[in-house]
């Protein structure tokens, strides 16, 4: 399966700098209390991340298969591994199990941050239990960042998430959200067990960073390393839809053409993976129309997409097929044939979805009256299904 980081292969992709590395070359960082082993400046980390504060000492592993090693200074056992290229701490979960990088991209205001905020919450509280899987943050930074940047605005303050800053101006945006997804199973005698555990790496992206190929190549390298791309489209950016909506909804300002973003993404992947113009991209691409509640009036009420999905026990393949057909017909109707053709031509594996993270438009003061997500999990589950992580049910 393309892009999957296998334990057997021994190679990893750093989720921070996206450079591949072997475990044998991953240095250790001493995690003794600073009073025991004085921290020191990490030159690599300072150069790459402009983080000059003293941290635990870094030392090279003695051999390939070592899981821990004594710090040469304090002789305490160190377990923390680093990316040899950027010296970011690699959470153990990323080293112990297969990892999958999922990129969430889309034009400015397409709802990427809100999508991630609601998706994580849905996976934890609703979809996860239904599919007997559990999503947990892999590191403190992920937990803190999700709570502060995504969860608290949407679920606690009931307000929209602020505009995501460009990774150029704030490299914190460049940091991934690292999760472990654990699947529960049963032994033959009926006792529960962990069937599988994988690491998921999500990236939120500022729309501005997709406006230029150069910027994408600088801060969005993860896209061509990803194992799945969720491309969010705001249907209200389509001219036909805007015309159809008339004055019935407050239309957002028109942003970058989705087709342009798709083109840049294609180019980035092609170049990153050294594909020729004749090669199709195997990375699964989920094209998801976000804020779908805003165009409910343009969708026939009997369409399956107008209703929530029921993924109980596995990926609902029938529902997926139905929704895919409906979406393609809608896109076609909304004068999006070009987009359809672009996707079909370039991407070997693709699917169309319609979803709404909030379920309603925010008020003028950015308050969210209620959070009623619909089908936010569909693209994600399709990607899991595509990678064989979950079964399909009929």
């Amino acid at each position: 399966m393309f892009g999957r980081r296998s334990l057997l292969s021994g190679s990893r992709i750093c989720p921070y700098c996206f450079e591949p590395f072997g475990l044998r070359s991953a240095p250790f960082r001493c995690s003794s209390p600073p009073s025991v082993c004085a921290p020191e400046r990490d030159e690599v980390r300072d150069r790459v991340w402009r983080d000059s504060r003293p941290l635990g000492r870094v030392f090279e592993p003695r051999h390939s298969f070592v899981r821990s090693q004594r710090c040469p200074h304090c002789r305490h056992e160190a377990f923390k591994r680093l990316c040899p290229h950027c010296h970011q701490d690699i959470p153990p979960g990323l080293l112990d199990c297969d990892s999958y990088i999922f990129a969430v991209i889309g034009a400015k205001e397409s709802g990427k941050s809100h999508y991630i905020a609601v998706l994580v919450q849905q996976l934890r509280n609703s979809v996860g239990p239904a599919l007997k899987m559990s999503l947990e943050g892999l590191d403190e930074e992920t937990i803190r960042r999700y709570r502060e940047t995504f969860y608290e605005p949407v679920y606690k303050r009931k307000t929209t998430i602020g505009a995501t800053r460009s990774a150029l101006s704030d490299n914190a945006v460049q940091m991934p959200l690292l999760y472990s997804l654990t699947f529960e199973g049963k032994k033959r005698l009926g006792r529960r067990r962990i069937e599988k555990s994988v690491a998921l790496i999500f990236f939120d992206t500022a729309g501005e960073d997709l406006n230029s190929s150069d910027v994408m190549a600088t801060v969005n390298k993860y896209i061509y390393r990803s194992d799945g791309i969720i491309l969010l489209l705001d249907p209200l950016q389509l001219d036909f839809v805007r015309d159809q909506m008339g004055n019935s909804a407050a239309l957002p300002m028109q942003n970058t053409e989705t087709a342009d973003i798709l083109t840049r993404t294609t180019d980035l992947i092609r170049k990153g993976r050294r594909l020729s113009m004749q090669d199709m991209i195997s990375t699964p691409l989920a094209i998801a129309f976000s804020k779908f509640d805003a165009v409910d009036q343009l969708v026939a009420p009997h369409f399956q997409i107008a209703h929530s999905a029921q993924h109980r026990g596995g990926f609902d393949r029938a529902d997926f097929d139905a929704v895919g057909s409906e979406m393609e017909s809608l896109i076609s109707r909304w004068h999006g044939e070009g987009l359809l053709q672009q996707v079909r031509t370039r991407f070997q594996n693709h699917a169309f979805f319609g979803l709404t993270a909030l379920g309603c438009a925010p008020l003028e003061d950015n308050r969210i009256p209620r959070v009623v997500p619909r089908r936010v999990e569909d693209p994600f589950l399709w990607l899991l299904y595509h990678h064989g992580l979950i079964r399909a049910i009929s």
Partner: protein
Amino acid sequence: MRASQVHYTSCRSGQSGSPGFQIRAASDGLTPEELREVERIGAYRVPRNLDPAASAEVIARDFPVIYRFHVLSTGRWAITRSTYTGRDYSGRVGNFFAHTLVPESGETPLWPIDYFEWAGWQTHLAPEADTAEAPAPLPKVALDEIPPAESFSFDELQAFLAERAGRAESLARMLRAALSAKQTSRAVVIRDSFVNGLFWSACLQKSLPLCHAGFMTFSCYQHEGRDCEIVNVSVGQTAFAFSETERRFQFFVFDFEADQHSDVPEDGTEYAAALVDWLTKEPKKVVAFHEYMGLLKQRAVAPGSAHAVQLFRLFLGEPLRDPGHTLLPLVTFWAGYAAPDPTGRLCRVLAGATVAAWPNLQAETGHGAFALLLKSAEGVAEKEHRALVVEAWIGLFDAAVKGDIELAGVQRVRAAIDEAMKHYSAALAARFLEPDHLRRLAEWFPRASEGGQLAVISEVLNSRVASGAGPLWHRSEEASFLLSAAASAKCLQPLAERLLAPLQHEPSELSTVSLTMAGDLASRHPSPEEAQVSLGRALAPLLAQAPEGIAQLVREQLDRAGHFGVLRGEWLHRLASAREKKRVVQEFRAGVLPQVPRFAANEESWILETFLRELHPDEAARESLELLAGRELERLSRTLVTYCVTALNQSLSLDARDADSERRARLIVEAERLHGIAIQPDRAMLRALMRGALPQDTSALIGHLEKIPDRDYEAFLNAYFLHALGRVTDSQKHGAILRAVLVPRRLARFTGAYIAWVARASKDQRLSPLAAAVLYCLTETSGAAIGQADPQHGRNLRESLVLGLIQGRPPLELLEKQVLATNADERTAQEWTLLRRAITKRGVSLLTRVKGWVGQ
């Protein structure tokens, strides 16, 4: 000086061509990399305790402003003022407006903090301006026209520090922390209110001079530990945890909310303490310090340099503490960073300090300091710097002349100056020869040591050469100084040698100079005679090398003026330097003395005497003999004749058979007679006594025999007793002769000679002299008269008589008759009986022993 501007915000239209966060507009002159960096430093993250969707009023009231000073990777400075604006054109929250200035020249004419109150800062993009139309490029800003922020004047900073107790101490610690931030990788993080944070940043930045402002980057609102500046202020709830790990290991935390602060290393203590002290007490000193830094190559100086502070203190006129340890590092510091300064203020201060501290410095330290002063003076190539170094050296030289410091070190410095300032030696010399300086030297000269006096003369003469001056005596100031110096010199000869050495090439001046100096010495020197001799000694080599006519002229003039001391000096020099003394005296007498008739008339004998004194005694005796034999006695001085007689006398043998000695003895006697000379020991007289040629006047012997060698004493007695005692028949006269010739310390030799005479007289049966001897022994208290000083001597005399009589075996009966006939009193008869018995007894016994020895 102009600065480019950059506006960054989320807007409809900007430089990206799409809506969203982007550079809204910018001035020309910034590279893409710089623009990207500018985007980054203005990024605003809302404090966690504040609602990003807050109203405009709340934002204006509660939200901190990022006022950040950053040095771009290209080295140019960037000052950013970033304000949270809430919603953007699309109504989404999280927008901010960052306005950045990047000076064209790289740096700003004011401290970056001083632009905080600039009226031109833009805080938001007006909605009406946020259209789809592309904005025009921003104009450049004239930085020179922006006044410094009044809030951060030094007086205001002083007031801020005084506002609350402990702030000054905190600032000192912050400053130390900031100075070590780069080395320790621990940035300073201050948790305080936004306004206080601004003031802390201002205090810290203005603690360094403007040239070092680039070191003290700051961010008056920093949200997280990544991408920190040197000084960062955390306002509200940020990503800083203020945990023990951060406080102790990752940052220098000054948490005024929790009143918990990091420990700070001691590095930079002196700088921090001084700057904070001035800032709290005398802000004007801070201003002065910053101005003073302009006298150094500022960029090269390490920010927070203790040496910079120490030098500034010196600059202010404060005394240097422990100069033995601090001066050299300070001069080293300045030498490394000296900038051209037409007024040479720092050079003056350091040169002055070096001179003042010199007596307390080790030689290497002082010399090292001077070498560095020189190096820097040459390095900056400023005339004034060189002049100051020279001035300092002259100060040292003067101190050495006065005896305050050692001369050797000063001369070593002079050598270094010559080496370093080859092209400046003329100016240095001119400065040294300035009349004022010469007058000062003249004052100190008489009290200077010999070395000091020589150094002064050498320096004056060397300076004259270096200054390219004409003949020495053409400049009256120097000539009069040198003459004056010579007149009071402690050791004139070497001084005169140096003075006169330049005349080697100006023989025509030799006469004038010599005459002038001789006259000056005669009239002003405390020991004029000695001084003239020294001058003569110095003059001699020059006269020897000068054309004969000139030498003659010099001598004639000296002779006419009566400066015989100079001519004596010349003679002494020639005599001392000649290997063949006789030849030199002949040459001098034949060649020089005729030129100087007055001198010759007065001093020829002295010349001969000095000549003789130079010779070995034997040689001197030979020369004396020649002189005496040459019949020059009449025109030679009594002193010389005395010397000759003495020399000849010393070599005179007492051996009567030595015919040559006899001839010399006659010459001695004649000279003594002619000049009324009395010498002791008068060996000629002794010779005459020995051969009985003189009347037996025992008083003439007094004092002579003590001074002749033992061998001569014994020879004299043996000869003299024959003539003197052999003719005496009176016991009183016999005793007088013995008393006259007895040298107590030579009693053994005396006794031996006396025994020999008694034995000889006994054998010759000269009964009358023997009877006088016996009577002298018997009547003069058993010989005590002769041994008054020591009765033992008297007994020895009697014993000697007995032994002599035993050895000579005189006819005792006849001798008895002669004795008793001369003195027939009873006591004499009894004594004689005892004496005879002793002679007989000891004679038999001795005879028996001798026979026994023969028999064996």
